[in-house]
């Protein structure tokens, strides 16, 4: 049991660090996916431990959200790339005050 949670924790940390340090929008995006899946793993593990289906249901919800997010996120990245010829998140800083 502890192994699953440890793996989930490691995956989440990798994802979080990736979001914070990487500049390429695609990689940042993948790291977000990694974090989502890390939580999914935690949900499923806890569901298994507690012997009910609540966690598994939540995992499905997360997958749906992740799918929607991928669709919108990739669309945004593509359109930014089209206008700016770059996928670096640091170059898209027009909201700077």
């Amino acid at each position: 049991m502890t192994e699953y949670i440890t793996l989930s924790f490691l995956l989440f940390t990798i994802g979080a660090v990736g979001v914070l340090v990487r500049r390429n929008a695609i990689v940042v995006f993948m790291c977000v996916e990694l974090m989502l899946n890390a939580t999914n793993l935690a949900f499923v593990s806890f569901a298994r431990q507690h012997g009910n289906l609540d966690g598994q249901t939540a995992a499905f919800f997360v997958m749906v959200v992740a799918a929607a997010e991928v669709v919108i996120g990739l669309a945004i990245i593509v359109s930014i790339y089209r206008t700016r010829r770059s996928t670096s998140v640091d170059e898209a800083n027009l909201l700077k005050a």
Partner: protein, 624 residues
């Protein structure tokens, strides 16, 4: 007819409204409408006066109410007018002299582009002054009181393009506010004490109030009277008020408005009879003003300012008489009426002289005008004889009576009043000598000429009134006439026979005249030479005994610093707090906006940090 007293006010008021509303279209004939309105009021006043004479002695006070002015709780003000012995005399003086001055102004203001407006203001003044004297309630009186103040302000500053005129108008208005404050407090005191401001009710109920209330009311009304009548210590505005057109000086600042204070004291006889202290203060104010005005009159070179000083001085006589109580009320009014004639006459004469001298007012530029302007000279001369109290002239009777009454009250006050008569004779002689006699000192471009008849006819009528005004005292008529209002006048107990007093006054007057003739028999030095070598007394007189400086140091300067302090407090304190808060918030926002970097990763860090804090918080709560 006596119920028509409101119409007396309505006619000139309608005239003023008509001229102001009609606008430029009435420029060509506006002055005629105004003069007709004033004359109509005079004729109506005369008819009413004749009817009043026809009535029985105890039936001569007719009060007409136009309805309730306003009502609040137990406070009830009736918009009522009283036509009685006192107000009828004033109505005749105001409309009579007023009409003559309207006629005179037709000539005097002929070349002024704003003549219609001038006549509208004159009519407004007549209406306000009539409201003042006809009012049956102190609050209605106050309405007229403020109305004449407004008209005075508008007319002093009529030539508003002159900075001095605008400043003089403001000065008169502001100094009058001080007096009006006294009036307002008096009105409040009346309401608090008696629950009414009706003149008859207040004066009738004064015995039911404490002596100190009567004294307070008397002193507060005196403050108002001092402001309006240019009495010490609120006298400084009158000399500056001479900036206005000369007919205005004659009507408002000599014959009528400035005597409103005397009217107020006499009308409030009940209050003053109840307070010895208030009456004494009135006597002192009158005496001081009498001497100060005469002093200033001796030193000024500006013909209108000499007359203004003289007006102050003569009103001082009236105040003095009014302060003597029943012994003097009737004589105060008597002198007020005769003064109204001869002083209006002389002011208009001075206007005629100025007209001839291209608006030069400096008597040092006059001289030998008697040949150039014979009618002005003769009418002015008759006014002169009247004011110095030449036997048989109106001023002789009225001033003599006041001096006798003052002597009966207190020997020293009587003697001071007597000296005042001598000084009056001196400064008026000085004026006559400098203006009409001696060598001509005109500047080359000036060609004096007699004024047109539209100006000289009022002069002739007023000169006749100045001579014959004493007839009001024939057989003691005026004292008998005013007795129901002023109370019975005992004959003063004099230390010496009356004839001695009269001879004494005449001797003092003769001395003054002789001094004036002797000192100004030769040529008058020019202004520069005259300024170089004068005694401290003359210097003080020329500077109006430094009252402007005293007022400036005691009132104007502190108030100016106070306003500066207030402005500073407002700008730095109140505004400073408000704008300062806004500025600080703005600065803080400037700092805060730097956190908005626009970098997605820094926002993400923020989110993580926040989430971490939330989780840690939850853990802490759960574990604790």
């Amino acid at each position: 007819m006596l119920e028509l007293s409101w119409l007396l006010i309505a006619i000139p008021l309608a005239g003023a409204a008509l001229l102001l509303v009609w606008g430029k279209g009435a420029d060509r004939f506006g002055h005629l409408i105004a003069t007709a309105a004033s004359a109509a009021a005079f004729v109506l006043g005369l008819i009413m006066f004749v009817e009043l004479i026809g009535r029985g002695a105890d039936d001569r006070s007719v009060t007409t109410s136009l309805g309730t002015w306003f009502e609040a709780g137990r406070f009830h003000v009736e918009f009522a007018f009283t036509f009685d012995q006192l107000s009828s005399l004033f109505v005749l003086l105001i409309t009579g002299v007023g009409t003559l001055i309207h006629v005179y102004s037709i000539g005097y203001m002929a070349h002024d582009a704003r003549r219609r407006r001038f006549f509208a203001y004159l009519n407004l003044f007549v209406a306000a002054m009539l409201t003042l004297v006809l009012a049956a309630d102190y609050l209605v009186l106050f309405l007229g009181w403020e109305g004449v103040g407004l008209a005075s302000f508008l007319l002093i500053g009529f030539w508003q393009h002159k900075e001095t005129a605008a400043a003089a108008a403001n000065k008169a208005f502001i100094m009058n506010r001080v007096g009006d404050l006294g009036m307002v407090i008096a009105l409040m005191t009346m309401f608090a004490t008696f629950g009414t401001t009706s003149i008859a009710a207040v004066n009738g109920a004064i015995d039911s109030a404490s002596g100190s209330t009567a004294t307070a009311l008397g002193l507060l009304l005196l403050v108002g009277a001092c402001g309006k009548s240019a009495q010490v210590p609120l006298q400084a505005w009158l000399l500056d008020a001479m900036e206005g057109p000369t007919p205005v000086s004659a009507l408002i600042h000599a014959a009528t408005m400035v005597t409103a204070g005397v009217y107020l004291v006499v009308r409030s006889a009940g209050i003053y009879d109840a307070s010895e202290i208030a009456r004494t203060v009135v006597v002192i104010v009158g005496l001081v003003t009498l001497l100060v005005g005469a002093w200033i009159g001796c030193a000024k070179d500006d013909i209108k300012k000499v007359l203004a000083g003289s007006t102050m001085s003569q009103i001082g006589y009236m105040m003095l008489a009014a302060g003597l109580g029943p012994a003097g009320y009737a004589f105060a009014i008597f002198h007020l009426l005769t003064h109204g004639f001869f002083k209006a006459n002389m002011f208009l004469g001075a206007g005629s002289v100025m007209h001839a001298m291209d608006d030069d007012v400096d008597m040092r530029h006059y001289g030998a005008l008697r040949r150039a302007m014979p009618i002005t000279f003769v009418t002015f001369g008759l006014g002169y004889l009247a004011i110095i109290g030449f036997p048989g002239m109106s001023g002789f009777f009225s001033k003599d009576k006041i001096i006798e009454a003052a002597l009966g009250y207190n020997t020293w006050i009587g003697l001071a009043a007597m000296i005042g008569a001598g000084v009056t004779a001196f400064y008026m002689t000085r004026l006559m000598m400098m203006t009409f006699f001696g060598e001509k000192r005109w500047r080359d471009e000036v060609h004096p000429h007699e004024s047109p008849s539209v100006m000289t006819i009022p002069l002739i009528v007023l000169a006749a009134a100045s001579v014959l005004g004493g007839a009001l005292y024939l057989g003691g008529w005026i004292t008998d006439w005013l007795e129901p209002i002023a109370g019975h006048a005992e004959h003063p107990h004099l230390p010496v026979p009356v004839i001695v007093v009269q001879l004494g006054v005449m001797a003092v007057v003769a001395l003054g005249v002789a001094a004036g003739v002797w000192l100004y028999r030769r040529d008058v030095p020019d202004r520069a030479a005259a300024d170089a070598d004068v005694s401290i007394v003359t210097r003080a007189g020329r500077h109006e005994i430094y009252t402007n400086e005293v007022n400036g140091a005691l009132v104007v300067l502190p108030v100016r610093y106070l306003t500066r302090l207030l402005v500073w407090l407002d700008a730095r304190g109140i505004d400073g707090t408000v704008t300062g808060t806004a500025d600080r918030i703005g600065e803080a926002s400037q700092q805060l906006r730097r956190t908005q970097t626009g970098y997605v990763r820094s926002y993400a860090l923020g989110i993580f940090g926040g989430a971490l804090l939330v989780v840690l918080g939850l853990l802490a709560v759960t574990l604790a």
